[in-house]
């Protein structure tokens, strides 16, 4: 009962304070509004608080479907911190995203590949915000340690069907992958250049399911995001390189791709809201968002 009384008191005080603040805030907001009307300069508000709640504007994104998770997570987190900014994201494909940013119909073009030279010539600037790394995993009983890019492609297209052919003990290879539409599958097939040529024995609909299936099936091979690796499966080396954050950042591990948020011109030439968005992504908070989306941060 004592607790209840305390809580009730605190709540009451909070309500009163909030009401008071809102009452005061109302007038100052009006003042700010009128100021904005006449001056119409964004961000000139005399905001003393560093949280930047006065920042307003829009950030529009379009592009890669693979970046949907990252873009939505970043947009959500950013809008939570800066309620005045509205971040919108459409997912139309990498090339369409870059095209849109070049035609200035959006602020940011999401691309899950490096920008081409011609795109850069037209003024698109490549801002890598995260790296998507994919690990190839096998059942722990598999003796094969290392696969070349070509061997991996051949396993997934059904040309190699036995571990014997890739320096392992004789056992059929059970090829496990993700369902059509999955970003990991897109990336995997795109990097290996075997899009729509894969012959899967099992198409599972989540990373966890792939891990469980590979862990429990002798001879199984699968691919998962780097961040979910654990001891239940064995991560293979590719072209002799271990899948680690370091090897991916250095570019030695080939099964990775950059997540690019392209802008038309340098970031410093963008609107304040967009600049703040990029600042946010490179802050510790933003990096946590990237990590939570299962991606590797860039320094």
């Amino acid at each position: 009962m004592k607790n209840f009384k305390k809580i009730a008191t605190i709540l009451g005080v909070c309500t009163l304070t909030a009401a008071g603040v809102m009452g005061c805030g109302g007038s100052s907001e009006e003042a700010a509004d009128s100021g904005a009307d006449t001056g119409s300069a964004e961000g000139t508000s005399d905001s003393a608080d560093a949280s930047g709640e006065d920042l307003s504007g829009t950030v529009s994104m379009a592009g890669s479907t693979s970046m949907e998770k990252l873009a939505n997570a970043a947009a959500e987190a950013f809008m939570a911190k800066y309620p005045g900014v509205s971040v919108t994201a459409e997912f139309t494909g990498s090339s369409a995203g870059v095209e849109a940013v070049l035609s200035k119909s959006v602020d940011i073009g999401n691309s899950s590949r490096n920008l081409s030279d011609s795109e850069k010539e037209e003024g698109a600037v490549e801002n890598i915000v995260a790296i998507d790394g994919i690990a190839v995993v096998t059942n722990p009983a598999t003796t094969t340690e290392d696969l070349s890019k070509e061997q991996l492609s051949q396993i997934y297209t059904g040309e190699i069907t036995d571990w014997e052919e890739v320096d392992g003990d004789a056992a059929p290879i059970v090829v496990i992958g993700r369902e059509a539409g999955s970003g990991t599958r897109d990336a995997f097939e795109e990097i290996l250049e075997i899009t729509d040529k894969c012959k899967y024995a099992s198409e599972l609909d989540s990373t966890g399911a792939v891990m469980a299936k590979v862990a429990s099936t002798p001879g199984a091979i699968g691919y998962v995001s780097l961040d979910v690796l654990d001891d239940s499966v064995k991560a293979l080396m590719l072209d002799g390189v271990e899948p680690t954050e370091e090897s991916i950042k250095s570019g030695d591990y080939f099964l990775s791709r950059p997540f690019v948020m392209a802008t038309n011109g340098e970031i410093s030439a963008q609107s304040e809201a967009v600049q703040t968005f990029f600042e946010y992504l490179s802050s510790d908070e933003g990096k946590q968002v990237v990590k939570d989306a299962g991606l590797i941060t860039v320094d």
Partner: protein
Amino acid sequence: MREKGLSIIGTKAAKSAVETTAKYIFTVCSICAVLAVASITIYMIYSGAPAIFKVGPLDILFGTAWEPTSAEPSYGILYIILTSIIGTAMAILIGVPVGVLTAVFLAEVAPPKLAAVVKPAVELLAGIPSVIYGLLGLLILNPIMYKLELWIFKDSDTHQFTGGANLLSAIIVLAIMILPTVINISESSLKAVHGSLKSASLALGASKIQTIFKVLLPAAKSGVITAIVLGVGRAIGEAMAITLVCGSAVNFPLPFNAVRFLTTAIVSEMGYAADLHRQVLFTIGLVLFVFIMIINLCLSKLLKKGVSNDE
């Protein structure tokens, strides 16, 4: 005693008001159910039909290539439809004999003490969530299937090994899942057969087994058929259990191929599907919906027939 004093709400007008109000409440409640069915039907047609015309009905229903995300996507679901039909049919072939014979056992053969153990066990079987069936299939059935697969196809060059996630696993899981439905309904219809039939048969010198198969089962026919149809409905609509054990790759439904059912096709790709791909998933839902509707129509016809037989 003083009836008038007690019947404050008992006047004719008040009574009829209560009656009318109750009538309206009942009507509203029943309208809710009808509305739900109607809106689901309309929604399924509304969201599933456009893709049929965009892709072409023949390309969808009779196409064999399911490549929804390739540069030139194709949305053929023939293998998926066949898988659902064959998978369900096989599950019925396995599950119904076992189920009906269990029902016979429970209703006629079993000593009461044994029946008292088996009956709750069957009812418990019905209550187990389908995902549990799937998990057990994944952990127990799939490894066994993989051993079988390795043994059968050890000399095959063309077979793609599935690690045990195949049509056969799904069929076995489905067969077990329809058991409670089949057993319970068959048993109650067997018990509903009038005792005079049994007595007459036995009195004529028929053995117990003869009585069961020549008299009791034919007499309970409509109930058993109802059980089968309900079993089909349960099997064809099941998603969670089989999505874990069927491998979920689109292939022709052979016992040791990884396959995809109508239900698992929706479950496995809804997460990331966009645009036409998503619409086609709704079309798959519509196809499934039509199947279920057909089964329900059969059921209601059978039930009507059963009623007229009884009369």
